[in-house]
């Protein structure tokens, strides 16, 4: 069976003006490939500016790609806003970090859940649409009496539930979530994480789940991709990546997570900031910050390839499939 979503060598460049006036290319996403099966969750982690949101917009056809191909439910995804694009958009929905910005301030939230049904001409009659919207309200754990409220009359967690109800009312098979809980408080974030898991179990859609928070991604993802400067550097099941990272960048990222009770654990402190993507270092892009870099890393770009336990890694030091590596599965 073909996967729900498959992304092949996806890239997006932006022309940017440098201080000297010359124009350069910023490689926001630079050759990303992955697949996502129906009903599963792929988490994407990485630091600010590594290309997570750009990748999400490309997948949704909100942004034209510079290179590469996307196939969703067997159809190619482009950013040309024609009939096919609108039909696809019904099946893939987006949830952002800031629910207030995603909602219309002047419209009661219930109507905003009805609206997509009206736009797409689904469900015959206002009554049926209203019923459908109320059912979604119930599914995301909102009381029916909140139907008539305006966005500013709801809490952050309730607003994000409205956004979820609106995204789900069209019955999508893919939900792209870009930092969906980053703006929420700890106690409410836990409510929304559980809700996302329950909704997936109930409705069966797949999630492309973007977050800078490794703990949240580990909680929700079946598979995780770690991005650095526009590329995936390691990909595999969360337990493998977070408990036994093989790529030095994943290793540093995991060790940087402040965890209560982990005690005096060895923390890897990386030098300096991630470089500006306009000045992407040659060879392995991580080499200027990599504590393990060898001479070869400056010259040769490591390919993302399968390593012993089946995960993918892009590092010269990680032995590929042939040689056995000890990994705690």
């Amino acid at each position: 069976m073909s996967p729900l979503l498959s992304v092949d060598d996806l890239a997006r460049q932006y022309p940017v003006a440098m201080s000297g006036g010359q124009r350069r290319l910023l490689h926001a996403v630079d050759g990303v490939s992955f697949t996502l099966a129906a009903g599963r969750t792929l988490g994407i982690v990485g630091e600010s500016g590594c290309g997570k949101s750009t990748a999400a917009k490309l997948v949704l056809g909100l942004l034209p790609a510079t290179r590469g191909a996307i196939a969703f439910e067997g159809e190619p995804v482009t950013a040309t806003r024609d009939r096919a694009w609108r039909a696809l958009r019904r099946r893939m929905q987006m949830v952002h970090q800031d629910p207030l910005a995603a909602l219309d301030r002047r419209l009661p939230v219930g109507e905003q859940v009805v609206e997509p049904l009206t736009i797409h001409g689904l469900e015959a009659g206002q009554d049926a649409r209203q019923q459908k919207a109320l059912a979604l309200f119930e599914a995301v754990g909102l009381r029916p009496d909140l139907f008539q409220r305006y966005p500013h009359e709801l809490s952050g967690g309730q607003r994000q539930r409205v956004v979820l109800a609106r995204a789900l009312v069209l019955g999508p098979s893919l939900l792209v979530c870009d930092e969906p809980i980053s703006a929420l408080d700890v106690s409410v974030a836990a409510q929304v994480i559980n809700l996302l898991q329950d909704l997936q179990a109930r409705f069966g859609m797949a999630y492309l789940f973007i977050s800078h928070d490794l703990k949240v991604v580990r909680q929700i993802a079946d598979e995780v991709a770690v991005m650095y400067l526009g590329r995936i550097v390691e990909q595999g099941p969360p337990e493998a990546l977070f408990h036994a990272p093989t790529h030095p960048y994943t290793e540093a990222l995991v060790s940087a997570v402040p965890t209560p009770l982990r005690g005096t654990r060895e923390r890897i402190i990386l030098q300096s900031d991630p470089p500006n993507p306009v000045e992407r270092p040659g060879g392995c892009a991580f080499h200027p910050r990599c504590p393990r870099a060898i001479a070869r890393c400056r010259e040769e770009t490591p390919a993302l390839r399968q390593v012993a336990d089946g995960r993918l890694a892009a590092c010269h030091l990680v032995p590929s499939m042939a040689a056995p590596v000890p990994v705690a599965a």
Binding site: D185, K215, V216, R218, E239, L253, V254
Partner: protein
Amino acid sequence: MALPMASSPAHHHDGLLPRMLAPDAHANAAPLLALRDFTVAFRGESGPVPVVRGIDLTLASGEALGIVGESGCGKSVTWLAALRLLGRGAVTSGEVLLSGQDITRLSERELAGIRGGRIGLIFQDPTSSLNPVQRIGTQLGEVLRLHRGLRGKAARTEALRLLDRVGIADAARRLGQYPHEFSGGMNQRVMIALALAGEPDVLVADEPTTALDATIQAQILDLIRDIRRETGMGLVLISHDIGVVADLCDRVAVMYAGRVVETAATQDLLTRPRHPYTRGLLAALPTLDGPRVRLTPIPGTVPSPDAMPPGCAFAPRCPIAIETCGGEIPPLVLAAQDQRAACLRLGETATQPGMPLSTLAASAFAEAGA
């Protein structure tokens, strides 16, 4: 070095001694910093809205105290108001004692000498606290002149040393640059250098790494730890992230709805939390280690300051609330050695020591079937 009135608070000791013997001040000496029944209210259309509702906290010299709690619980307002940085809209009461001296009674000029002097400050968003149109060197020079009396060559040498100390390479060139020429992490380093310039006894850091990436956050936490090791500087670290606080702090105070609901040594708080809110917070956190288990969220949301529930503010969300909780504000009382909690049901919820964290954290919630 520091301004005279800031460095000679001892003469106030006699008058204030009885207050110093508040239950958690176990040493004879005045604590470095203490809040006593401190409140903050904002003027609203229908009267003042209390947002910080009676806080008692003590920081011993050289100690690192973490303040955690969800957004809006008053973490920032408490410390901004204590240093009179909130303007006329905020009304405060209670005492803020710096080595025993109540700084709420000081004149504006005297307090200005303490801010950035004995008490250093850093905020979440460095770009909003650095002056965008002034060179880094000028801003450092200003602090060094004001709080250390350094000028000219001496000031420049010290500024170079400070930038170097916070890990900014090529310090001489950097002194001539503006904040927008720096990355977020570098600006936060500059903020730390500015705070260190006054040779503070205590650094109040409000979410100093929240705006930063994970690997940069790790660098900054590491830097603060090193500086404390070198200088013995005290620290008040405000963060919504218990992980960050646990990383740096000896002791933690958990705030909820404008009050401290629990305070304990970091390890005790994490391994045997006593307040249902603290337990709830820990159970709601996803982790990187251990088995992946379903999270236990706290039902409902944080109350807003203008609709504060009567009695225990946590009662509407508390899985073990009983009727009296709605009528009585629980005082912060001793729950175990060096551990205080503000809950009316402490006696009934005592747990055996040695219980694993995950079980323990979830227990209060499981009990009520939440």
